[in-house]
C-alpha cells in the first residue's frame, strides 16, 4: 500500500516536471527576436516564394501568435499532448514524424549504453573497493580521470581516426551506405554491429567513470560498517558476505543514480551523434538550433526530457521495490 502511494506520488512528480520542461522548451521557441512565423516568411521570401498576406494572417491566427504568451503556450502544450508538435521548416514535415523516425536508434543506443555502463562499472567498482590502492584500482581511477577529462567530441574524433587509420573502416552513422535501403539481413546486422562500438564507447565513457567512482566510494563506505564485521564474525565466507551485505547496500545509490545518469547519457549521445553522424535525436536538435527551426528544437528537447523522466521514474520504482527502508517507510 505504501509502495502504491509512493508510486502515485512519483508519477505526479513526473507530470509536474513535464510541465516545467514544456515551459522551458516553449521559452526556447519564444526567445529569438521576432516570432518564428516572421522568420519562416523571411526564409520563404529569401528562397523566392511569394507569401500572400491572407494566408499569413490565417497561419498567425492558427498558431495563436496574436495572443498573449501564456495562451500561446497553452495552445502549444495542448497540441503537444495530443501528439501535434508543429511543423519543421527544415524538413517540411510534421515535427513528430521527423522525431519518430529517429526514436528507435536513440532508444537503442541509450539502452545499450546504459547496460554497458552498469555491466562495466559495477564489477570494476567492487574490485576497486575490495582491492583499494592495488594496481587495478589505480588503473581504474586513472581511466576514470581520463574518461572525465576527455571531451566527448574529441574522443569521437580520435576513435574515428583510429578506426579509419587502423582498420580502414569509416565510422559514420550506424550502417554503411550500401546497406542503407536494404532489408534486414545477416550482412546488414554484422555491419551494424561493427558500427556500434565507437558510439557506445563515446557515450558511455563519462558515465562509466562517474559510476565506478560512486560504486567504489559507496562500497568503501559500506565495507567499513559494523554489519560487515558482524557478518564476518558469524563465520560467513568473505565473498559470500560481501555480496550479500555491503554490495547489496551499495547498489541502492547506484540504482538511484542510474536515473540521473540519463541526462548525462543523452548529453553524451548528442555530442557523439553529431560528430559521428548518427541518426538519433541529438543531431536533429543541433540542426534545428542552427537553422532556427524552433518547433523541431522544442520537440527534441521535450522528447529527450520525457525519456529522462521515464527513466527516473523507473529507477525510483526499482529502488522502492529493492530497499525495505523506502518500501516500508
Amino acid at each position: 500500500m505504501k509502495l502504491f502511494k509512493y508510486i502515485i506520488k512519483r508519477l505526479l512528480w513526473g507530470a509536474l516536471v513535464l510541465l516545467f520542461v514544456s515551459f522551458f522548451s516553449f521559452l526556447v521557441i519564444q526567445l529569438p527576436p521576432g516570432d518564428f512565423l516572421s522568420s519562416y516568411i523571411a526564409r520563404l521570401e529569401k528562397s523566392g516564394m511569394a507569401v500572400d498576406n491572407q494566408s499569413m494572417v490565417a497561419l498567425r491566427h492558427s498558431y495563436g501568435l496574436d495572443q498573449p504568451f501564456i495562451v500561446q503556450y497553452g495552445k502549444w502544450f495542448y497540441r503537444f499532448v495530443r501528439g501535434d508538435m508543429g511543423v519543421s521548416f527544415l524538413y517540411t514535415k510534421k515535427v513528430e514524424s521527423v522525431i519518430v523516425e529517429r526514436l528507435p536508434a536513440t532508444l537503442l543506443l541509450s539502452f545499450t549504453s546504459l547496460l554497458v555502463i552498469y555491466l562495466v562499472s559495477i564489477p570494476v567498482g567492487i574490485y576497486s573497493a575490495r582491492r583499494q590502492y592495488s594496481i587495478g584500482d589505480f588503473l581504474a581511477s586513472l581511466l576514470g580521470f581520463m574518461g572525465m577529462a576527455i571531451p566527448g567530441f574529441l574522443l569521437a574524433l580520435i576513435l574515428m581516426w583510429i578506426a579509419y587509420q587502423g582498420f580502414g573502416i569509416s565510422i559514420g552513422g550506424l550502417q554503411s551506405p550500401q546497406f542503407m535501403d536494404q532489408p534486414m539481413s545477416m550482412a546488414k546486422a554484422i555491419d551494424f554491429m561493427k558500427h556500434l562500438p565507437v558510439p557506445i564507447i563515446v557515450i558511455t565513457v563519462a558515465g562509466t567513470a562517474a559510476l565506478i567512482r560512486t560504486m567504489r566510494a559507496t562500497l568503501l563506505d559500506e565495507l567499513g560498517k559494523q554489519y560487515v564485521t558482524t557478518a564476518r564474525a558469524k563465520g560467513l565466507k568473505e565473498s559470500t558476505l560481501i555480496h550479500k551485505y555491503p554490495v547489496r547496500a551499495a547498489m541502492n545509490p547506484i540504482i538511484s543514480s542510474g536515473g540521473w545518469l540519463l541526462p548525462e547519457l543523452f548529453s553524451g549521445e548528442t555530442i557523439a551523434a553529431i560528430v559521428l553522424g548518427l541518426p538519433t535525436i541529438g543531431p536533429l536538435l543541433y540542426r534545428a538550433l542552427l537553422g532556427e527551426d524552433m518547433y523541431l528544437a522544442a520537440g527534441c528537447i521535450m522528447i529527450l526530457s520525457i525519456l529522462t523522466i521515464i527513466g527516473l521514474l523507473i529507477s525510483d520504482i526499482v529502488l522502492a521495490i529493492t530497499d525495505p527502508r523506502i518500501r516500508l517507510g
Binding site: W161, W260, L290
Partner: protein, 379 residues
C-alpha cells in the same frame, strides 16, 4: 557515540607537555587539510599545473611571440624545430628559415628548412604591440626570432596564424570561463541553497523541485538550446558573459543541493544546538559554526565544477554554438580540427585538445585531493 558525563574528564586535552598529537589537535582546519593535501601526489602535480597555466594566461601577451590574430604567409606550417647544432657545432638555440614549396598539382604545401643560415632564438624582443591586462602598453615579448623568419612552437593554422599564441589566448578565455562561471554558480547556489536550507518548509520544497526539474533536462541539449538563442549581433564580450551565465545556470543546482543538505544536517548537530542554547546570534552561528563546517565541501564541489564548465564551453564552441571567432577559446580553435582530413594532415591542431584535457585533469586532481583531505579531516 554517547559519552557518559562522568567519563568526560578523561577526554580533556589538558596535557602540560605539548606533544605532536596535541599539536595536531590544535591546528586549524585548513592547516590539517593542507597537511593531508600535500600527501596526494597527483593533486600536487595538478596544483603546479594550474598555477603554471594561470601564470601563463596572466602574462599571455608577453609570453606569446605573435599577435593571435595576425595572418602570415606560413600557412599550416608544422611546429618549428629548435636546433642547437649548426653545421655540427653546438650553438645557442636557433631555427632555420622555412622555404614554402607549393606543389602546383595537388596544391599541397611543404616546408623545407634552409639550413644555410641559423636564426637564433632571442629573448625579450620587440614585436607586436599589445595592452597588458588592457592597461599597460607594451611590445616586448619573452622570446622571438628575426622578423625575416618565424618561430611557431605549435605550428600555424589556415591563415598562417601562430598556434602557440592562439592556444595561450584560447587558454585565457577557456580557463576564465570556468572561474567566472563557477563564481556565478557559487553565488546562485549558496544563496538559493542557503535560503532553502535555512528556512526549510515550503520554500525548501519549491527550490528542491526547481533543482530537480532543471536536472531533468539533459545538459548539453539545454546548453545548446540556450546558447542558440543568443542574438547573432551581440559583441564578443556580451557573448562571453552570456555563455558563462548559461553554463552557470546548470551548475548552480548541484551546489545549492549540497549547501542545503549540509545546512540541514549541520542544523541538527549538537554543537550548533549548543551554540543556539547559549544564545549565540544567528549571524554568528552561520559565520563561526556553519560556514567552517561545510566550506571544505563547497570548495571541493567548486573545484570539480570548473572542469565541467571548461568542457562545456569547449564543446559548445566546437559545435559552433558557443563563443564565436574572432574570440579565441580552445573550443573555437578546435573547430579547425573538425574533420579527419584536417587532423591527419595537420595533427598539431589537436594541441588545443591536449591543453583542454590537461587543464581538466589538473582541476580534477586538485578537487580530488581536497576532497580526500577534507574527508580525512572529517574522520
Amino acid at each position: 557515540m554517547k559519552t557518559p558525563t562522568f567519563f568526560r574528564g578523561f577526554h580533556k586535552p589538558k596535557n602540560s607537555e605539548p606533544n605532536k598529537f596535541n599539536a595536531l589537535h590544535s591546528a586549524s582546519q585548513w592547516a590539517l587539510i593542507w597537511a593531508k593535501f600535500k600527501d596526494h601526489k597527483l593533486a600536487i602535480v595538478g596544483l603546479y599545473l594550474l598555477v603554471f597555466f594561470y601564470v601563463c594566461i596572466l602574462f599571455a601577451p608577453i609570453i606569446t611571440p605573435y599577435d593571435a590574430w595576425e595572418d602570415s604567409k606560413y600557412i599550416y606550417a608544422p611546429p618549428s624545430k629548435i636546433h642547437i647544432f649548426h653545421e655540427g657545432k653546438l650553438s645557442r638555440p636557433f631555427v632555420y628559415q622555412q622555404d614554402i614549396m607549393l606543389n602546383t598539382e595537388t596544391f599541397e604545401r611543404t616546408f623545407k628548412p634552409d639550413k644555410s643560415k641559423p636564426y637564433p632564438v632571442r629573448f625579450f624582443v620587440k614585436g607586436a604591440e599589445y595592452r597588458w591586462l588592457g592597461l599597460v602598453k607594451g611590445n616586448i615579448h619573452l622570446f622571438g626570432v628575426d622578423p625575416q623568419t618565424s618561430i611557431n612552437l605549435m605550428g600555424t593554422d589556415v591563415l598562417g596564424r601562430d598556434c602557440f599564441s592562439r592556444n595561450i589566448s584560447g587558454l585565457q578565455i577557456s580557463l576564465t570561463v570556468g572561474l567566472l562561471g563557477v563564481f556565478i554558480a557559487f553565488i546562485l547556489g549558496s544563496v538559493i541553497g542557503g535560503i532553502a536550507g535555512y528556512y526549510g518548509g515550503i520554500i525548501d520544497n519549491i527550490v528542491q523541485r526547481l533543482v530537480e526539474f532543471i536536472s531533468c533536462i539533459p545538459t548539453i541539449p539545454m546548453w545548446m538550446a540556450l546558447s542558440a538563442v543568443i542574438p547573432q549581433d551581440w559583441g564578443n564580450l556580451k557573448v562571453y558573459f552570456a555563455i558563462t551565465v548559461i553554463l552557470a545556470l546548470r551548475s548552480w543546482t548541484g551546489l545549492s543541493r549540497q549547501v542545503r543538505s549540509k545546512l540541514l544536517q549541520l542544523r541538527e548537530e549538537e554543537y550548533i544546538v549548543a551554540a543556539k542554547v547559549c544564545g549565540t546570534s544567528g549571524w554568528k552561528i552561520i559565520t563561526t559554526h556553519l560556514l567552517p563546517g561545510f566550506m571544505s565541501y563547497l570548495i571541493v564541489s567548486l573545484t570539480l565544477e570548473i572542469p565541467k564548465m571548461i568542457l562545456g564551453e569547449t564543446t559548445l564552441s566546437f559545435l559552433g554554438l558557443g563563443l564565436r571567432a574572432p574570440t579565441v577559446s580552445l573550443g573555437v580553435l578546435l573547430q579547425d580540427a573538425q574533420n579527419l582530413a584536417a587532423i591527419s594532415a595537420y595533427p598539431w591542431l589537436l594541441i588545443s585538445a591536449l591543453l583542454v584535457v590537461v587543464a581538466v585533469l589538473a582541476f580534477n586532481f586538485v578537487g580530488d585531493g581536497i576532497r580526500d583531505a577534507a574527508d580525512h579531516y572529517k574522520n
